[in-house]
């Protein structure tokens, strides 16, 4: 057995009122990639924050033994000195500064009062090559894509002489291609002897890259699965540990739904980029959706899916939009602005619930009614009692877990926030619902509940468009699937005929066609 680099022994961390970690034991061998999986709020991030000193020594119980020594970290600097470097989920780069400046921010070369820029940039370049970037370290961060920014974060960590690298959801904002490149880079580092901990929701990636998988549930480590066998561990096996039971079916069956007439029809839809109007973001797309039908739009990030949905939703994205839109067979012209789209009974449930979907500083009640205040008010005067009743009704219907609808949305978990977002748009009484990544960043149990809600919507005769970059979800939930790549629809198939292979093949072919 290889040497144990890190051992966390009997770690208990309590916040006022909650035990976030309860007697957790966790071991990492030198030179392995160790994955931490678990539902949101299970305690993964808390554990890593204890390790890196964000929660300083003394605020938790238990021991951290690193490289054979018991450690007491009082802040991040302490842990970084020993080579424990954490890369957080949200990128922490300053867009207006160069890559080199970013990499050595707070860790400047030379003297604090006289920065040695030559060393800074030459060393930065060296680490950039190590992560496979050919960019100059004098490039501004805003000029490179998210995938490359993630690599810069890793280069920054390497520059701190990392021995134990912790990556928190490193691929959550990357497309499939960039994700794969990142995972392969991790495997390369492993060969050179680096030890890594990866936190991820994407179980296929975990199965691909990790040597061992530790499952965290309700603040405790449940089990550690060995993944060094010839066959990678199945996702079902990991999920079983995460939810504590076998998930026989990840996607609920839709029963007794009769698909009706075509309700939404979009033809030759073309959308141009708002800042570079000569660029077509959506290129001559035609689609239709029937009542009671769930239509999946699959595509990688950046394929133009969000842009398509938002341009349909009252031109809230894009310029020079051309094409025709019909609702119930009649051509409609929706004016610019979400209000007119809502009047035409269209709803768009954003992929970015915190940025574009919810007002976090307001209550569940206020968020639920925001898109349809008319329904609970008389001549612009809100009927507070009616509003409360509506919020309660949706809380029960969607099983949102909260002490009361007066709770601030910012205090809810991701899954519950997503339910509030759905409640808001269901209350707007749309006929057409455009759901953009409706299960992004939420845990397995909540996902199942969201799928049930989608089925209920279809059963109620709504037409549902579900945009997703998770293939199993698209395959499991849709009646029909459109495949999108680089702004174009490159295929359409019935769910019954679709497989992961033939969808990916379509995308690859279309890519080569250019």
């Amino acid at each position: 057995m290889a040497k144990i680099l890190l051992e966390m022994k009997n770690i208990t961390k309590t916040f006022p009122g909650v035990k976030a970690l309860d007697n957790v034991n966790f071991q990492v061998e030198e030179g392995e990639i160790h994955a931490l999986v678990g539902e949101n709020g299970a305690g993964k991030s808390t554990l890593m924050n204890v390790l890196s000193g964000i929660y300083p020594y003394g605020t938790y119980e238990g021991d951290i033994i690193y490289d054979g020594k018991v450690c007491q970290f009082h802040n991040i600097k302490d842990s970084e000195k020993l080579g424990i470097v954490i890369i957080h989920q949200e990128l922490a780069l300053v867009p207006e500064m160069t890559i080199g400046e970013n990499m050595y921010l707070g860790n400047e070369r030379g003297h604090k009062l006289a920065i040695d820029w030559n060393t800074t940039y030459s060393e930065a370049d060296k680490y950039l090559r190590m992560v496979g970037l050919s960019e100059s370290s004098k490039t501004q961060v805003k000029d490179i894509g998210t995938g490359k920014q993630q690599l810069v974060e890793i280069a920054k960590a390497l520059a701190k002489q990392a021995r134990l690298l912790i990556l928190d959801e490193p691929t959550s904002s990357l497309n499939e291609e960039d994700s794969r490149a990142l995972l392969d880079l991790m495997l390369g580092f492993k060969k050179q002897g680096m030890t890594m901990i990866i936190i991820s929701h994407k179980l296929n990636e975990v199965a691909y890259v990790a040597d061992k998988i530790t499952v965290v549930r309700d603040g405790a480590t449940i089990e550690t699965i060995d993944n060094r066998g010839p066959e990678p561990v199945s996702e079902e096996r990991i999920i079983k540990g995460m939810v504590g039971r076998e998930m026989t079916n990840r996607f609920p069956k839709r029963e007794g739904v009769t698909v009706g007439d075509i309700q939404l029809e979009v033809d030759n839809w073309t959308v141009h980029h708002p800042l570079y109007p000569e660029r077509k973001v959506v290129d001559n797309v035609s689609m239709y959706v029937r009542k009671g039908e769930v239509v999946g739009i699959y595509g990688l990030m950046g394929a133009g899916r969000t842009e398509l949905a938002m341009s349909i939703f009252g031109q809230t994205y894009g310029v020079n939009i051309s094409g025709t839109m019909k609702i119930d067979g009649k051509e409609v012209k929706i004016k610019k602005g979400a209000d007119d789209a809502i009047r035409h009974k269209i709803a768009y449930v954003t992929e970015d619930r915190k940025g574009n979907g919810l007002v976090l500083s307001q209550s569940i009640k206020v968020n639920t009614s925001l898109a349809h205040l008319d329904a609970i008010s008389n001549h612009m005067v809100i009927d507070g009692d009616k509003e409360y009743a509506v919020a309660e009704e949706y809380r029960e219907k969607l099983k949102t877990k909260t002490p009361s609808v007066e709770q601030l949305v910012g205090n809810l978990s991701g899954g519950n926030q997503q339910k509030v977002l759905l409640a808001k748009w269901m209350f707007a009484e749309p006929d057409i619902m455009l759901l953009d990544e409706p299960t992004r960043g939420i845990d397995v149990g909540a996902k199942y509940e969201i799928y049930c809600i989608i089925n209920d919507l279809a059963a109620a005769g709504k037409c549902v468009v579900m945009i997703s970059s998770e293939l199993p979800e698209v395959l499991g939930m849709s009646d029909r699937i459109y495949i999108m790549n680089e702004g174009k629809f490159v295929g359409e198939m019935k769910a019954s005929e679709a497989t992961q292979e033939n969808i990916m093949a379509l995308i690859l072919q279309s890519g080569r066609g250019d």
Binding site: G17, F313, T316, G337, A338, D339, A341, I342, Y348, T350, G355, N356, G357, L358, V359, L360, S361, Q362, V366, S369, L370, A371, L373, D374, S377, M380, V381, I382, G384, D385, Y388, A389, P403, S404, K424
Partner: protein
């Protein structure tokens, strides 16, 4: 934890500023030997700070949209007052002058709001330019001199001169004179009864709909507010009666309380400040929300211009300087968020009263006016620091 019970810590956190206000009042009561609680001084506190309440109400809406402020209000107050005073000086009917002042305020607000809402000019800059421009216009209108107001009806109605009180109709009808002022008492008691009636109705509806909110706590706040109002009423009644300026303050605060809590536009103000993109995608014309906020503070600047002109019995090109800062400070001391989306009219009132009490207390004690500014600055800083710290503990 039982929802109906509030821990001592949570109680202090929620009512920090009210507790601070009580402490400050007691502090000055001891320091001045109770002089600050004399009926005359209570009356002055209201009359002197009339403009603060009115401007802070308008300012609150701007701050709600995202921590935006309006720097121009001091200059706009001076300008509208200047126009009104010059009109009345030329024997124009008082009501025409009043309407002109309100209309000019509204127009200026809408004008500045246009740049902010439609052309995305940062509010700070748009109103900074207004601050310079309207100070200059005031000077032009006044020709650099002071212009006085002699119109008695105007002064009486808007809180200037010796007779700016609601006449004691009741004693007039009874054919007696003297104190206390019975009309003032009647107004206060009726107001409290209406307030209690509304609260009870609200609690009954809550019970019917099964909304869980602590009834004892609501009754307690109702009782405290009623007691304070009755106490104030007695104080005012034993002085000269109900100051007319309080009618305007009450009207404005009532309307703004209603706008922020009951109306769709009020909801939109909070939503835009909390998350503008999400609000736009919910079908709200967010730019119009900004426009509304700035038009509203323009109108309030017009009203404050009227009150200022009446109280000073005229206007001088240097009047109303720094009024915008008093309004901004009241909102922030009252718990409005500098990032927008959070803030209440009730908090703003406490903030404004706190500033007023400190000002007046220092005046009575005889603190040097320069040092008074230092204290004001420190109070603002402390209030915001307290707010930031108490929020951090929650995480």
């Amino acid at each position: 934890m039982n929802e109906n019970r509030m821990s001592v810590g949570a109680f202090f956190q929620k009512y920090t500023m009210i507790i601070a206000l009580v402490v400050v009042v007691i502090f000055f009561a001891i320091l001045t030997g109770g002089k600050n609680l004399l009926p005359g001084n209570i009356n002055n506190l209201i009359s002197q700070n009339g403009y603060v309440f009115v401007l802070a109400a308008g300012m609150l809406l701007c701050i709600l949209t995202g921590g935006n402020i309006d720097l121009s209000v001091g200059s706009v107050v001076c300008f509208t007052a200047a126009v009104g005073c010059v009109l009345m000086d030329n024997d124009v009917n008082m009501w025409i002058a009043v309407l002109a002042m309100l209309a000019i305020g509204l127009l200026i607000g809408a004008f500045q709001g246009f740049w902010i809402a439609k052309l995305h000019v940062p509010a700070f800059i748009a109103t900074l330019s207004g601050m310079y421009a309207f100070r200059g216009f005031s000077n032009v209108v006044l020709g650099g001199y002071q212009v006085s107001v002699t119109n008695e009806a105007f002064l009486n109605l808007f809180g200037g001169g010796a007779k700016c009180y609601v006449p004691d109709f009741i004693r007039q009808a009874m054919g007696t004179t003297g104190k206390p002022n019975l009309t003032c008492l009647a107004i206060g008691i009726i107001a409290v009864l209406i307030f209690i009636g509304l609260k009870v109705r609200k609690i009954l509806i809550q019970k019917k709909l099964n909304i869980h909110q602590s009834i004892p706590a609501q009754l307690a706040t109702t009782a405290v507010i009623s007691a304070v109002v009755i106490w104030l009423t007695f104080k005012l009644a034993s002085h000269k009666g109900f100051p007319t300026v309080l009618i305007w303050i009450g009207l404005v605060l009532g309307i703004y309380q209603y706008i922020t809590t009951k109306t769709a536009i009020g909801r939109h103000l909070y939503a835009v400040g909390g998350n503008e993109k999400a609000t736009a995608l919910s079908g709200v014309k967010t730019r119009n929300v900004y426009w509304f906020a700035y038009a509203s503070i323009g109108l309030m600047a017009g009203l404050a211009g009227i009150l200022t002109a009446a109280r000073a019995k005229g206007i001088d090109p240097t009047y109303a300087e720094g009024y915008e800062m008093d309004a901004i400070a009241s909102c922030f001391i009252g718990g409005a968020s500098a990032y927008g989306g959070v803030g209440k009219v009730s908090g703003m009132i406490v903030g404004a009263v706190l500033m007023g009490v400190i000002n007046q207390g220092m005046n009575i004690v005889g603190v040097d006016s320069n040092f008074q500014k230092v204290v004001k600055g420190l109070v603002l800083l402390l209030a915001v620091v307290f707010d930031v710290l108490s929020k951090r503990q929650k995480r």
